[in-house]
Every structure is written in C-alpha cells, then in structure tokens.
Amino acid sequence: MTSKTTWFQRKRTRELALVVCFLLPSLAIFFLYRILPLGWNAWLSVHAWSPLKAAQFIGLEHYEEMLLDDDVFWQALANTLIFIACSPLAIAAALGIALLVNSDLRGAAVYRTIVFLSYPLMTVAVGIIWRWLYDERGGFFNYVLRSTGVIDQPMKFLQSFDWALPCVILADFWQVLGFYMIILLTGLQSIPQHLYEAARVDGVPARARFFRITLPLLKPSIFLCIVVGILNSFTSFDLVYVMTNGGPGHATELLITYIYKAGFGQTRFDYAAALTVVQFLLLVVLTVIANKLSGGNAGSLERQ
C-alpha cells in the first residue's frame, strides 16, 4: 500500500511542478513590468533619488512641491480631466452608430469596417494626419471654413490656447469611436430578442423600449467604454507628442506627457514617480466612481 501513496504523491508534485514551470515566465513578466513598478513608484515618490546619488527618504516633499508649487501639474490635471469628460460624447455617438449598424441593414459590415478602420492605426501616424488636417495652409478644416466664408484669416488651430485641446480631443475621438462601437455592438447583440418581442406585444413605444430594455442591459458595455475612455487619456501620449508636444505653453499637456517630460526630459525620476502615483490614484478613483454610477459590480445586473 505504501508504494501506491508514493506514486500518487509523485504525480501530484509532478503536476504542481509543471504548473509552476508553465506559469513562471508569464508571472515573471507581470511581476517585473506591472507589480514591481507599482511598488517602486510608491517608494521612489517618497525618496530623493538620482542615478548618481543614493536614495534619501524625504517623505511627502515631492507631493508638496507638486500640489503647492507646480502650476504645470494643475494644468495637466485639468487637461486630463477635460479629456476624460469628453469621452461620454464619444460613447453616445458610438452608441448611435452601433444602433444604426446593428439593425438588419444591408452592407452593415462595410459600415462597421469603415468606422473601425481608424482604431488599429499607429497613433503617431494618426497624429501626423490630424496635424496636417489642422494645418493653416494645406489643412482640410481651414480650407472648408475659408471656402464657406465662415472665417477670413487662416486659423492656427494647434497653436491657439483655446482650440488646441479640443482639436487633440477630436483627433482622439476619430480614432477611438470604432472601438466604442465594437464594444457596444457586442453588448447589443447579446440582448435577447424575446425581450423586445414581449415589449412590442405589450405595446411599449420604441423610445421606452430603448430606455427600459436596451440601456440597462448595456450597462456592462458602457462601463467598459468609460474605463477605456479614462485609460485613453493615458494612452494619448502619442497624439499629444506628435501634434503639439504639450503646447502651446502647456495648453495640451496631459499628465502622461508631463510625467514623460519630468522623468526623461529633466531626468527627475523621483518627481515623475510621484506624478505617476497621483495619476494612478486618479485612475482608481474615477473607475470606482464609474462603477458606483453604473450600479456597482462592474455594471452587471441581477436577474429580474
């Protein structure tokens, strides 16, 4: 009997060893590039460190400097929040397109592909395309506005303090619209049709059908879109870097571009780490708020 237990034990340990072996590379990558940086950021943000000197604990001095002395930080924070606040517009537009495309329209697949075509493009290329569209000499917008007589002088969109951020947001809108549409389409297609049939039989008008059936059942997809919208303000580094590089005068500076400039331009890794911590906290807080607003539990619903 002892030989049987040893055989069983060996098989279990073999299986465990296999699992560990297979999981190890992935876990190593995640540890190195996700978990460890999170902790390291927090550690760096409370120390004064440069590659030449040893680290020195300074407590919350970086945060003091950031919150009290740094105007660029507040500007970047405001810009990031404006960026995030514009994403519901994009989501609403994408919802409209998804509703139109979801019906049994002939050629819906073509429309879907055209709207989604902008998403897998290189964001740097998108930035250059839109920078050219906004150009005051050869750009599309100036051409249309001047040809139709709305303005007389060419308008320098990307160099104006008022228009630069909306212009960057519009460029991002163009790129991310397709992604929202795909997520919402998937959500729409998972709504069971019999609910609509039952409502139609009961004589519920179309508008009430939309608000009572469609919207609530789309909550998980909408929540995902909102999270993507928040993350978008982080990934828009490429767009801002190529289109305006934060200018004119920090009018389009986002938190992520400021982090890059502080960390790799001024080589102040510790201050950039503090900024990163603040940015991450912002992400967490906004996600939690979005979660609460969409009914908790990532928007998923209980069965009625």
Binding site: L23, I29, R137, Y241
Partner: protein
Amino acid sequence: MRRAPGSPRHWPRHAIMIAVSFLMLIPFYWVIKTSLTGENIYAWPPRILPVDPHLFNYVDVWYLIPFGRYLLNSTIVTAMAIAGSLLFNVAAGYALTKHFPGRRWIVVLLLSCMLIPFQATIIPAYLITSWLGVLDTWLGVALPLLSTIICIFIFKASFEAVPPSLIDAARVDGLSEWRIVTRILLPLSKSAIATNVILTFIWSWNSFLWPLITIRSPEMQTLPLGLARFLSVMEDTTGALFAFVVLVLIPGLAIFLMAQKEFIRGLTSGATKG
C-alpha cells in the same frame, strides 16, 4: 414584424451611415491626396484632387530616410513579441486549466494586474530594463509584451472547451504534458492563436512610448520613432512626409483587414468576461 433588408424605411439609416463613413474617411483621403500631389503642398488654396499626381514621393521617402532599417527593427521586435507571447501565453493558459491549490489567488492576481495600465509603470520599467542590461536592444523593446493577460484567458477558455476525454486518452497513450498541448490542444485552438498573433502584432507594431524610452541609438529605432523623427527634421514642400505615413500605415492596415474577425474577438473578449 420584421422589415425586409432592402425596404424603403431603411433609407434614412443608410443616409446617416454614408455621411458618417464619409466623415471617417476624410482624413485618409486628405493624406493620400497630399502624398500623391506634385504641387507645393502649402500653396493656398489646397486642391481637392491631387494636382499632377505621381508616385515618386514614395521613391524619395525610401531613399531619404532609413525606411528599410526602421522596418527591419519593427519587424524583428514584433516577431520576437509574437513568438515569445505565443509560448508564454499558451503555457500559462494551459497551467490555469489545471486545478491546483492557490489557483483562485493566481487568477485574482492576474485580473488585478490587468487594471494597471502600462503608462503607470514607465519609470520603473525603464529602470528595470536598464538593470537587466537590455536597454537599446530588440529584446528590451519586446520584453513587456511577451505575456498579456487577455491572451492568457483566451487560451484558457479555448483549452477548457476541448473535451477532457481527448486529453485523458492522450495521457493514457503516454504523451508528455507539453506534447499534449502541441499535438491536441493547439490544433483545436486556431482562432485563439490567430487572436494572440494579431493582438500582439498591433500592440507591438504601433507602440511608441515604450520604444521612445528604451531606444537610445538611431539605428535601433522602430517605425513610429522614425516617423516622429522625420516630422521634426524635415519641413519640405513636397508630400514626402505623407508618403512616409502612407507607407507606414499600409502593413498595419493590411494585417488588420486580413485578420479582422480575430482582432475584434480578442478586443471584445475582455468585454464579455466578468
């Protein structure tokens, strides 16, 4: 009462969608037009159609900038990322299909790692890469992409859909675990493999911030870096820059159109999870 697809009530929808499609395609058209035109692109008024169109801007771009070098760097980094990610994700996905103590904790850990965006990690990731000694190398650029959580879960779901009788039969036949994966599970998971490949390709091909941080020497630059550098260095009146943009976009678009279904499935699998 269902309406027939071609019925007249659909015309307003078609009209709106055509308008939307037109608006979405204008940037493409404007850039292609500028890359083909033979005139001074800054002259006012810009023409709607390219004046004296010619393809020689593309020839200029090929010789003016080290396009071949950028393409090579991007391709090598992407190939490494795809190969490595296939290996690691398949292994991790398979390991997660087994029941072992602590499995739930690992899954929770992975899901929470998904909440950490890459941009929140750039400073330490740079320091780690520098400490590993792979700064300014292809491996260093590909390293963060060698494993992604979405793909691990896609493989896990795909492997779990295989009937266990097949796996048990293979085990009785004496195949080792890795052989089971390659001989039985992978051939049945072709769409998961395609999704992994296309997602990793798009993320690696388009990534700008990470190569910007990691690459220090001009001859290791990838395509996005080359594009950004060209923008700041050249300011000429021809459409050469836009020919560069079109040349850069073509591989990405071609691969996307080839593998559209898998790409969309990969993106939305995160939506339907949870």
